[in-house]
């Protein structure tokens, strides 16, 4: 699958993105990473241009519910229909907020993953890939 990986508009964290890129590439996906602090307009333009088969939004600064909601609403109102998932530390209180999670799903997110729940992300991407294009060969990101 082609996956577009991104941070949210106000989130400057990057280790989550470095990790997820490796994690997804090891599972045979082709990943483009937009990096941290991605404004909604940039995300929409990148998705419209490259038409990824999945958008993965990762956030850990505690603004993920709010920024994620804005991001997915922007994508959907631009008519972009590809699957969009959100995960990470989404609020400042350290526990899942069911109401805000429901808002994300209503706004058009296909899944919301808890912080560190890569097993759920793996299962989701495997299911999605099974119905999409055949996997690419593994291309690990070399350290040296």
């Amino acid at each position: 699958m082609t996956i577009l990986l991104t941070g949210t508009a106000s989130d400057s964290h990057t280790w989550n993105l470095v990790y997820l890129r490796l994690f997804l590439e090891e599972r045979g996906h082709r990943v483009t990473c937009l990096g941290p602090c991605v404004p909604d307009q940039l995300l929409v333009a990148a998705c419209a241009e490259s038409a990824p088969e999945l958008v993965v939004i990762s956030s850990v600064n505690g603004h993920g519910y709010r920024d994620g909601l804005s991001a997915v609403r922007s994508l959907r109102s631009a008519g972009l229909r590809m699957p969009v998932v959100v995960g990470g530390k989404l609020g400042v209180a350290g526990r899942t907020d069911p109401a805000r999670r429901a808002l994300l799903l209503e706004a058009g997110c296909d899944a919301v993953f808890d912080d560190g729940d890569v097993a759920a992300l793996r299962a989701y991407t495997a299911d999605l890939a099974a119905t999409a294009s055949p996997p690419l060969p593994v291309a690990p990101w070399a350290v040296a």
Partner: protein, 459 residues
């Protein structure tokens, strides 16, 4: 505030260095007086969007049984320059991850600080912005005069601003700070350069960046600076980094510059257990005392999970201070004082000096030299996603837990000799193991591991 606050406050003030009533309002001066009295200044990372909660947090920090300075950490919307977003979030009642200083009025911030911020309790504004102009205006309007950041360290790893713009923005911010802060207050800037992506960046590069940013600040008129370094994966390497920073500051900053070194308790993935988090915090306090840092930015036991509460911050400050006092007492018994920075010709020092000299060779204007250095890969931060970073360097943890270079690209240093063992592709599991190594070590201590002083119990 906790019930014993007033009593602890008087103890704290009695033990703290006397503020200089006739002198300048000076963040660096406060830290220097504490150092002369043999005390480590401890500081939280605290920032709350609600003004009342922010005031409570500052009051608690002031009342801690420790020599403390206060913190206003700014929220992420304000950091990226989305001031309208910060105002909208406040209007919605959303809890932000910091204090939106440009969304609150100057009167509001003055009310938060009233009767709390004074020469005996300076407050620093911490943010993360590559566009700090509005934040500098807001902090000066609230009577504050200490902040932190840097043209590289608040740009490269953590955002999308082009480095050239960040350099320009930070040059203006330095000048703005000197213009807007009225005498007798002395503007203070701390470089975040010793912490950027610090978790897996060998310390020589961090030391060099902190020093080069401090030079940038002094070039643009700042006379009081602090140089930062983060606690990393190996205590001996960490101590060498603090000493190298002290020595390079003496060698490369203008002699009339007020300066001190600030250590950050480990900034990576934090231990999840209370005992592990406490031990790591105490180790950072001991490291600061042993190696001669004068201020410590603490972390709390809640760090692995969420934004910490005021009480958790207070406990972290008091725990760190107690560990520092014990370490200072032990040092006084065994040696004349912290080891002099002049005798620190370590590998970290030599590597940092190689970076500093290579950048200074690129020109007399520190901002331009930093831009050229990154454009040519003379400085190259490992794992940094920013387009203005060459991205050819890679680091690894050796078998003893030290941070080393696997690849150095265009940088003026060779890769470490042990790198052949690290010449395996980086996997997501391998990265996680490196990122979680310190947390795992402290959460599951070896049989010899112990917590030297218990954490104060919450009241």
């Amino acid at each position: 505030m906790r019930p014993g606050g007033a009593v602890l406050g008087s103890v704290r003030r009695a033990a703290a260095p006397d503020p200089d009533p006739g002198g300048a309002l000076s963040f660096g001066g406060f830290v220097a007086r504490a150092a002369r009295a043999g005390r480590l200044v401890v500081q939280p990372r605290m920032g709350f969007s609600d003004p009342g909660r922010m005031r409570t947090g500052l009051a608690a920090t002031r009342s801690a049984a420790a020599v403390t300075v206060g913190t206003l950490t700014i929220d992420s919307y304000t950091r990226v320059g989305d001031h309208a977003g910060a105002r909208a979030a406040l209007a919605e009642g959303a809890r932000l991850n910091g204090y939106p200083i440009t969304a609150h009025s100057a009167e509001q911030t003055l009310a938060v600080l009233d009767g709390i911020a004074d020469p005996a309790f300076p407050v620093q504004v911490r943010h993360g912005s590559s566009r700090p102009g509005a934040i500098v205006r807001a902090l000066a309007a609230a009577g504050l005069y200490a902040t932190e950041g840097g043209p590289v360290s608040y740009c490269l790893p953590y955002g999308r601003t082009p480095l050239a713009d960040s350099v320009e923005n930070w040059a203006r911010a330095c000048e703005l700070l000197t213009e807007l802060v009225p005498a007798p207050a002395l503007p203070h800037l701390e470089s975040f350069g010793g912490c950027m992506l610090g978790q897996l960046c060998p310390p020589g590069l961090l030391v060099a960046l902190s020093l080069l940013e401090a030079r940038f600040f002094t070039h643009h008129g700042i006379r009081s600076v602090s140089l930062s370094i983060a606690q990393q994966t190996d205590p001996a390497q960490d101590a060498d980094a603090v000493r190298a920073l002290r020595r390079l500051a003496a060698e490369f900053l203008p002699p009339d510059t007020d300066r001190h070194v600030v250590l950050y308790t480990y900034m990576g993935v934090y231990p999840r257990t209370e005992h592990g988090a406490t031990l790591l915090l105490e180790d950072s306090a001991r490291l600061a005392v042993r190696a001669g840092a004068q201020r410590l930015i603490v972390k709390t036991s809640a760090e692995a999970h969420r934004i910490p509460t005021v009480r958790e911050n207070l406990r972290a400050l008091e725990t760190a201070s107690a560990a520092a006092d014990q370490a200072a007492e032990a040092l006084r018994r065994n040696a004349p004082g912290p080891d002099p920075a002049g005798h620190s010709d370590s590998a970290v020092y030599r590597e940092a000096r190689a970076f500093v000299e290579a950048v200074l060779d690129l020109g007399d204007d520190p901002g331009r030299a930093l831009r050229t250095a990154f454009a040519r890969g003379v400085l190259d931060v490992p794992y940094c996603l920013h387009p203005d970073n060459a991205g050819r360097s890679r680091s690894f943890l050796d078998s003893a837990g030290r941070l080393c270079w696997a690849e150095t690209g265009g940088m003026p240093i060779p890769p470490d000799k042990a790198r052949d063992r690290a010449r395996t592709p980086l996997t997501s599991d391998g990265l996680l193991a490196a990122l979680y190594g310190v947390a795992a070590r402290y959460d599951n201590p070896s049989p010899g591991g112990r917590i030297l002083s218990p954490a104060p119990s919450p009241s």
